[in-house]
């Protein structure tokens, strides 16, 4: 575990302890299980977001994609009698396709990721509302998919703790994503492109392909989480379902050490970031803070966290530059000369 991740974990434990001391309901099994479920659902699309952010891009359409694919999934299995496995496959394929389109627009058409995905945010939200004619999509009376419901939204008792299956899904996604990002060749390329695309290209990396892949992975994972969220909420009003989720995802990634400039961040950090966000949300409920202040509390904590992190990073860097400086000045002299002509 990186040092940054460790300090985030400590922060979570401190906040958790304080909340538990003020309101012991925080550590009751029911509350923990519900919070864990939220972490599971939000963690998956936050990891999705992290893939894009590491390339130096951003994905703003996460919430809208969750709404669009959510209504699509429910419509397929409830109204069109599509087998749920096939429906899930269609929805994931849809997510992947959205990723391909975003990736191509960013790399080939050279449109800024912010603009591409902002347009996506608007388009998919509109499409979702149009698809259901702004009606709420849900399971009709008596509609029942026992296997799917158990898989996606059920809980299994583990040592007396009802472990939500969304958490199991998150654990699997986390392990795979961790291996891909931190151990695989592709992960190396992803960080290299995020850090310095030109140097990556000079090393023979096909930067465009790497970036497109990141958007595809993001789209696929978002689609997966869309299914879980749809099965959890069981009814979707397309105008509000999943709105602001992209901001939860970006916040979790930033808390987890991702830089919006790209090339930074760890999977463990993103998961811990998600945990912190959900604990904060829970804290607002449990401490009797007006729920209208929910976002304000989150924003404040993130801001303080990022400020503290920057402060600590600067403090720890200072002695190192002192050591590094004589070396760089040796380098700087001939460079000056080179420039002098």
């Amino acid at each position: 575990m990186r040092k940054k991740d460790l300090s985030l974990l400590i922060l979570i434990l401190v906040v958790g302890t304080v909340v538990a001391l003020i309101n012991p309901r925080f550590v009751m099994v029911g509350n923990l299980s519900n919070t864990a479920n939220q972490v599971g659902l939000f963690g998956i699309f936050s990891i999705a977001e992290a893939f894009v952010i590491i390339t130096g891009g951003i994905e703003l359409s996460v919430g809208s994609v969750i709404a669009l694919l959510g209504v699509l999934f429910i419509d397929l299995i409830v109204n069109r009698d599509v087998n749920w496995i096939a429906a899930a496959a269609i929805v994931v394929a849809g997510g992947l396709a959205i990723g391909v389109v975003h990736g191509l627009l960013v790399t080939k058409a050279r449109i800024q990721p912010f603009v591409v995905t902002l347009c996506g945010l608007l388009i998919y939200r509109g499409a979702a509302r149009y698809y259901t004619e702004d009606a709420t999509a849900g399971f009709g009376f008596g509609a029942s998919f026992p296997t799917l419901e158990w898989l996606a939204a059920g809980r299994t008792n583990v040592l007396g703790f009802p472990l939500p299956h969304s958490v199991v899904a998150l654990i699997i996604v986390t392990v795979v994503a961790w291996v891909v990002l931190h151990r695989s060749v592709f992960g190396r390329y992803l960080y290299a492109v995020g850090k310095n695309e030109e140097a990556a290209r000079y090393s023979g990396i096909r930067a465009n392909r790497v970036v497109i892949s990141a958007y595809i992975i993001c789209g696929g994972l978002t689609a997966f989480s869309a299914i879980l969220i749809a099965m959890y909420t069981r009814s979707i009003s397309p105008a509000v379902h999943g709105s602001f989720y992209e901001l939860y995802a970006i916040a979790a990634a930033v808390l987890g050490g991702c830089s919006l400039r790209g090339g930074e961040g760890s999977i463990i950090g993103v998961v811990l970031g998600t945990v912190l966000l959900q604990v904060l949300q829970n804290l607002v409920n449990l401490l009797g803070i007006p729920s209208s202040l929910n976002f304000a509390v989150m924003g404040t904590v993130i801001l303080i966290g990022v400020l503290a992190d920057q402060y600590l990073a600067q403090r720890s860097r200072r002695p190192m530059t002192g050591r590094g400086r004589p070396q760089t000045s040796v380098d700087a002299v001939p460079r000056e000369q080179a420039k002098a002509e």
Binding site: V179, R183, S184, V185, F186, R188, Y189, Y191, A192, K195, N196, E198, A199, A200, R201, Y202, S203, G204, I205, R206, G263, G324, Q327, T328, S329, V330, D331, V333, P334, R335, E336, Q337, A338, K339, A340, E341
Partner: protein
């Protein structure tokens, strides 16, 4: 301008004098007791090789750097140094090599940036009418073909240069300094600029221009001042201006002999470039071949198209036309990956931007281009990766506390060796070096030269772009010289001399 001027006899006194200016950078004298005086309406050409100190001297004049010693006299007032504000007040204006203009403003906005005429009132809005009216006479004076409200983004490079000159005139410049103003201009644009310089002179404005093109010196300078290794080695009057005389003054350094002959005579041609045309110089084709075991030096002035050629061979930019052959077989290189797969590697000019990931470990930098060969079931075998990095560090004598350190924490020479280590971990057939020792300290320089020779002896074909005369002459087995996008000649070792290289580079046949 001083009101007294008209009553004085026609300018016996220079208005600006640099006396005994020295500029010491740690370990090296960039300027060594240089003196220069400028009179009204005088056009002075400043010439010399790369690294002679021309730009440094002009930066002293522009107030950008403070000289270590010497005196600057402006209108008889003595000072130790100038600030940028002093220089502007004294009427010294700089037209920079990299133009300092704003793409998102129009011509008038650029000329009067920070000095815009304002409407009265609390909002201090810009009076656009007055702004444009103020610029128009200056445009008329230079007879330019654009209007005050032309967006800068739509102007050509030559027109932008004129905007810089207009900006200088708007500041009542008495001296306009131009640093290689013609290096990226076409022939007609250059002619136009020469006319503008003549016009400035007629108006009593002095011009100092730095150039490598001796015919331009002949065309418009009244005096040429030659710098070499930071010293002023001569001044030529109008009557003495001749290419031979200028070249004679520019060269004549003692070049240390660095040459180590190859172990065996060069073999067959490995890399062959046939009629390659790049986008920078359409209509100019380059043909050359690099043989097995040979170091081919590619000399030429900055901007002669050498880097563009290297980028095209390596697949960074597409070739407009022409062919690349490897061991006699034509190959197509659409991206760097294709070049790398064929064993053609590039050590780029700007290693911080294109060569390295500075805040990534040495190990990961070295393995990056060859990462796929370290993989086992999609995963990177980090142990083998670190082992190889360790081995390369020992082999190339990269001085670092450990291979887990960031590449950016090392000195320039060691960074360059890491870029080399990337390629040497693989099997190079052709290695292209773009300025192999730029920003590298003397000790590491020699080590890099040794590595080059060892690689050549091991059968690698090496193409070495270098603007350092000592390096080109001291390391190469053969030299190709480029000028304005084309090869102007090849030199064998027996013909190697600074004189011959320079003549080819500036446009005279040997």
């Amino acid at each position: 301008m001083s009101a007294l001027l008209p009553v004085q006899p026609p300018m016996p006194e220079p208005f600006l004098e640099l006396v005994d200016i020295s500029q010491i950078f740690p370990g090296v004298a960039a300027l060594d007791h240089v003196s220069l005086s400028v009179s009204h309406g005088e056009v002075i050409a400043l010439i010399g090789e790369n690294g002679a100190g021309k730009s440094t001297l002009m930066r002293v004049l522009g107030g950008v750097v403070e000289p270590s010693s010497g005196v600057i006299r402006v209108d008889g007032v003595e000072r130790r140094s100038l600030t940028v504000a002093d220089a502007i007040k004294a009427g010294i204006a700089f037209v920079h090599q990299e133009l300092n203009l704003f793409d998102n403003l129009d011509v008038a906005g650029n000329v009067y940036i920070g000095r815009e005429p304002l409407h009265g009132g609390p909002l201090k809005l810009i009076d656009r009418k007055r702004l444009h009216a103020q610029v128009q006479p200056l445009l008329d004076r230079l007879e330019v073909d654009f209007k005050p409200d032309a967006p800068l983004a739509e102007l050509s490079l030559a027109q932008r240069q004129l905007v810089e000159i207009i900006k200088a005139l708007s500041l009542d410049a008495r001296l306009v300094i131009m640093d290689e103003p013609t290096s990226s201009l076409t022939l007609t644009e250059t002619d136009r600029l020469m006319q503008v310089i003549a016009g400035l002179r007629a108006d009593g404005v002095s011009v100092i221009f730095i150039t490598h093109r001796l015919n331009e010196v002949m065309q418009c300078a009244e005096r040429a001042v030659v710098l070499r290794d930071g010293r002023m080695v001569g001044a030529l009057t109008r009557a003495e201006l001749a290419p031979a005389a200028m070249i004679r003054l520019m060269i004549g350094r003692d070049l240390k002999s660095l040459y180590v002959p190859p172990a065996a005579p060069p073999g067959d041609s490995v890399l062959e470039i046939v009629d390659a045309v790049t986008d920078t110089y359409p209509g100019r084709a380059v043909s050359l071949s690099v043989r097995r075991g040979e170091i081919l030096g590619l000399a030429g002035l900055v901007g002669s198209g050498r880097t563009e050629l290297a980028r095209a061979i390596f697949g960074i930019d597409p070739l407009r036309s022409g062919a690349i052959k490897l061991n006699g077989e034509p190959i197509r290189i659409a991206e760097p990956r294709a070049a790398i797969q064929r064993g053609i590697y590039l050590v780029p000019e700007d290693r911080k931007r294109s060569g390295l990931l500075l805040d990534v470990s040495i190990t990961e930098n070295i393995s990056l281009p060859d990462l796929e060969s370290y993989q086992r079931f999609w995963l990177v075998n980090t142990a083998r990766e670190a082992e190889n990095a360790q081995r390369q560090c020992e082999r190339l004598r990269i001085r670092t506390p450990g291979v887990a350190n960031f590449a950016g924490s090392l000195s320039g020479g060691n960074q360059q060796k890491i870029v080399l280590a990337k390629w040497l971990s693989m099997r190079p057939k052709v290695l292209i070096f773009d300025e192999p020792t730029r920003g590298v300290d003397v000790g590491a320089k020699q080590e890099i030269y040794d590595i080059l020779r060892r690689l050549a002896d091991a059968g690698v074909a090496i193409l070495m772009i270098s603007s350092d005369m000592e390096e080109v002459i001291g390391i190469s087995d053969r030299i190709a010289v480029m000028r304005e996008g084309a090869i102007s000649g090849f030199l064998d070792r027996s013909q190697f001399s600074e004189h011959n290289v320079l003549q080819l580079a500036v446009g005279h046949t040997v």
